[in-house]
């Protein structure tokens, strides 16, 4: 629910009833939870692509927009949406279990990022060169779980040349990885594709982005991304689904503007926003 008179602390509902105003469509407020410092998705200045998409949605449904900020670390959904600090989290996996999700509005996958002149033609996890190249992987850390390509590499006995970049740290892990690549401290970075496209486009080195495909026995690399609402908030879910469907061309344009590489995209080289 995004109306000012629902799902809010009881005293506000009471105040609202007493004053007997504002329970109208134009008083709608879309309360959003987001990470204040996690570009390209979001930042506190509203410069991320999820900020832009949320703005499109709010305008579409005639709601004002407010944010509750918290780093998207362990327990984010519980500490934000499920504690009632907001009504929607944009940009979470459509398969996430503890929320009700909208229809997905993009799909990402994991990508190899590298200097083409150093490793020409690299495109596959079974490439023998991956046994010796310095490979950077984001390190989820929580629950001791690696990214799916990390598991795929471990299955192939590739660990010694793998360097972990904890996702919790100064600046986003993919930015640190791509910076290391540009400085020749890494040969290959394996990055979530929406972040890969954006950060590759931000720096001058000629880097290739190649989407990875799992083989038999590998985990799935592709995740559909949606918005999440509280499990009992089917009404907001329907409202958002309608807006996302109407806004598809505009959302695609925002994703292009941020050089978001999506599952199924052609290999992107030298992207510029």
């Amino acid at each position: 629910m995004f109306s000012r008179c629902h799902d809010r602390p009881r005293w506000r509902v009471l105040a609202c009833a007493l004053v007997a105003i504002a329970c109208t469509v134009d008083a709608r407020e879309l309360r959003v939870c987001g990470d204040p410092d996690n570009l390209p998705y979001s930042d506190a200045a509203g410069r991320g692509f999820e900020n832009r998409i949320v703005r499109l949605v709010a305008d579409d449904i005639g709601a004002t927009l407010s944010y509750y900020w918290l780093p998207q670390w362990r327990g984010f959904t519980r500490k934000t949406l499920l504690e009632g600090h907001c009504d929607v989290i944009p940009g979470i996996p459509a398969a996430q279990a503890n929320v009700l999700t909208t229809a997905p509005y993009y799909r990402g996958t994991y990508a190899l990022v590298f200097r083409a002149e150093r490793v020409p033609g690299l495109s596959d996890l079974d490439d023998a060169r991956l046994r010796t190249l310095r490979i950077g992987l984001p390190l989820i850390g929580i629950d001791a779980m690696p990214t799916p390509p990390g598991r795929a590499l471990a299955r192939r006995g590739i660990f010694d040349n793998v360097i972990g970049f904890p996702v919790i740290g100064e600046r986003p892990a993919p930015l640190r990885m791509i910076t290391a690549l540009a400085r020749d401290e890494l040969d290959v970075a394996i990055v979530w594709s929406p972040q890969a496209g954006y950060f590759v486009a931000q720096q001058p080195a000629p880097l290739s982005v190649v989407l990875l495909s799992p083989h038999e026995g590998d985990p799935e690399f592709t995740f559909a991304i949606a918005m999440g609402v509280r499990p009992d908030d089917a009404s907001l879910q329907r409202t958002l689904d309608g807006a996302l469907a109407r806004l598809k061309p505009q959302i695609d344009a925002v994703l292009r503007e941020y050089a978001v590489v999506r599952a199924g995209d052609d290999v992107a080289l030298g992207i510029r926003p």
Binding site: P71, G75, M145, F159
Partner: protein, 587 residues
């Protein structure tokens, strides 16, 4: 020691205590969470005994105003009782000389609020330490503070770690001579563990010993003589890891530190390796999930023993090391008694680092024993969690047979009183998660009660006989510390709020009192200015086991609280949040 020799001469004494040589004036104080350097949590006071504890009455209560898990021990010195709360780590000094123990001073360290988002398992603090007129404690945001214990004025503070890298501090410092020993938490976040010695005068770092990496940074030098061959070799803190994984390898130091003044050696455990899935960090992953013996002046390691090489199950090695003398095979050893998370109670020669015995004190399916020739844990391969595979009946569960909650030892009964849990878990497939914009599929851990169906237990363990003398089953995990007294009474708290006294010899229940919230703190005993013996404990549910209440977690999400929500779905009905100190005395 003369008394000890006399006892041994009779041929009867198999266990005796060392480290009890306290001055008479110390008997009534409780200056460090573990009571003494040997970590016995034994009070020599005997006014309260098995005959009269049934009449124990509430003397006074003090509300801390904080709602998170209160795991700290009250500290008593100079007729003052000191408390450090969970985040925001308020410190209270209560005047024991005045009726009702009014607040003498209060100190707010104001830790940065983002530290709340980093702490893994509730925002706990395990206590302060009083030494030489000063009170030392750690704040969650990696600061160590020294206060003037009389006035509460800050003497110094030191910032030791980086929140942005996932580090926090939750442990209680230990003061050894002129050094304040502190360690970091955060093994789940790719933190590299360390123990740091600060100059007690000014807070400057005297030395820092990492738990992974090159010998020069682990402080391994010529004095390092580990007992087992697998711990000998150059730079094993690098060589037992793939590539550069040691840089983020865990091994944090968040448990209690012990000290043997006679040998002049400190002992402490290191946390589990991290943060990769085990398949991605082949090797023994030294020096994680083990025990270090070090020189307190220089930090140089004397020996190391690894309880869980290449840990698969989150079995930190940080549980307390109780320093007592134990007779094994007819010979008396200066020993460590260490109830590990992996389910074994280790008796280790503390001069040499040799395992004298390792006996399961809880249900264990993840391993089949400890090879005393090599010191190695024998893992059960069918309990190795594999991505995409369901593995059932992993015992003990990730919090171990016992987590942080410290045991007590009575030299009168020669038993170790171990508060612990009886939990197993199933590792099931696949739940999609998202951290900082990076999607992944994690294993779903579902904890469940272990064999017998009761989730908690207090075990009185005879370390010489390597068997339990008695046990008490508890419905909920026993997440509080234990206290043993010269009155032959053992105290512990339950997560539903009951504070209990039992007979140290038999485990027979003697007394109980229902406090306002679940107990996850460390009970202590002291002599008041009026000459009476008091027993004190912080009540206030929380910690990993209690976080479903402290964090208002929806227990319908069975995997919340890293699997704990599934096994304590009833906790919200049984207790509510609220931190308070309870102090008891005879009428």
């Amino acid at each position: 020691m003369a008394a000890l020799r006399a006892l041994l001469a009779t041929g009867l004494a198999v266990v005796a205590a060392s480290g009890f040589a306290q001055e008479a004036s110390d008997a009534g104080n409780w200056t460090m969470p573990a009571k003494d350097y040997a970590n016995t949590r034994y009070s020599p006071l005997d006014q309260v005994n098995t005959g009269n504890v049934g009449t124990l009455k509430l003397a006074w209560v003090f509300s801390t105003g904080v709602l998170r898990g209160h795991e700290a021990a009250p500290i008593i010195a100079d007729d003052t009782l000191f408390i450090v709360t969970p985040y925001p780590n308020l410190v209270y000094a209560l005047d024991l000389k005045a009726p009702g123990a009014p607040v003498k001073w209060k100190f707010s360290p104001n830790p940065v609020s983002s530290s709340q988002g980093v702490a893994c398992c509730d925002l706990v603090n395990r206590g302060a330490v009083w030494s030489n007129g000063r009170l030392y404690f750690n704040a969650l945001d990696n600061q160590t503070f020294a206060l003037d214990a009389r006035t509460g004025a800050e003497v110094w503070h030191a910032r030791l770690g980086d929140i942005r890298r996932g580090e926090t501090m939750t442990m209680a410092p230990l003061v050894v001579k002129d050094k304040v020993l502190v360690g970091n938490s955060g093994g789940e976040y790719g933190v590299r563990g360390w123990l740091t010695a600060l100059d007690a005068d000014n807070g400057r770092i005297a030395w820092r010993a990492f738990s992974t990496g090159p010998d020069s940074e682990v402080l391994i030098g010529p004095a390092f003589r580990p007992f087992y061959a697998t711990d000998r070799g150059k730079d094993l803190g690098i060589g037992t890891w793939p590539g550069e994984a040691w840089k983020i390898g865990g091994g944090t130091v968040w448990g209690f530190v012990s000290y043997d003044p006679a040998l002049d050696v400190i002992y402490y455990g290191t946390g589990n390796p991290g943060p990769w899935n085990p398949a991605q960090r082949p090797g023994d992953n030294k020096w994680t999930s083990g025990i270090f013996a070090r020189d307190p002046a220089t930090g140089q390691a004397r020996w190391f023993y690894q309880m869980s090489p290449h840990d698969l199950h989150d079995y930190d090695g940080v549980n307390e090391n109780i320093l007592i003398d134990v007779t094994v095979g007819g010979a008396s050893h200066r020993a460590i008694v260490h109830p590990d998370r992996n389910g074994y109670l280790y008796v280790i020669d503390r001069e040499r680092g040799e395992v004298l015995s390792a006996t399961p004190y809880a249900s264990v399916t993840t391993s089949t024993g400890v090879d005393l020739q090599t010191g190695r844990l024998r893992y059960a391969p069918d309990k190795d969690p594999q991505p995409g595979r369901t593995v059932r009946d992993i015992c003990p569960a990730s919090p171990g047979a016992k987590d942080w909650q410290p045991a007590a030892y009575s030299p009168r009964t020669r038993l170790v009183y171990i508060p612990h849990q009886n939990l197993c878990q199933d590792a099931e497939t696949a739940q999609t998660s998202y951290i900082a914009g990076t999607p992944y599929v994690g294993a779903t851990l579902k904890m469940k009660p272990g064999p017998g169906g009761k989730r908690g237990r207090v075990t009185a363990w005879d370390p010489a006989a390597a068997k339990a003398a008695w046990t008490i089953d508890e419905d909920l995990p026993v997440w509080s510390g234990a206290l043993a007294t010269a009155g032959d009474v053992v105290f512990y708290g339950a997560m539903d709020g009951w504070f209990k006294a039992v007979d140290a010899k038999t485990g027979a229940p003697l007394w109980q009192f229902k406090t306002g919230s679940g107990i996850v703190g460390q009970p202590v005993s002291f002599r008041g200015p009026d000459g009476k013996q008091y027993v004190a404990v912080l009540s206030g549910i929380g910690g990993w086991a209690g976080t479903v209440v402290a964090n208002d977690i929806d227990t319908r999400d069975q995997t919340a609280a890293t699997g704990f929500a599934n096994v304590v779905p009833d906790l919200k009905q049984k207790t509510q949040k609220g931190g308070a100190l309870y102090v008891f005395a005879l009428p």
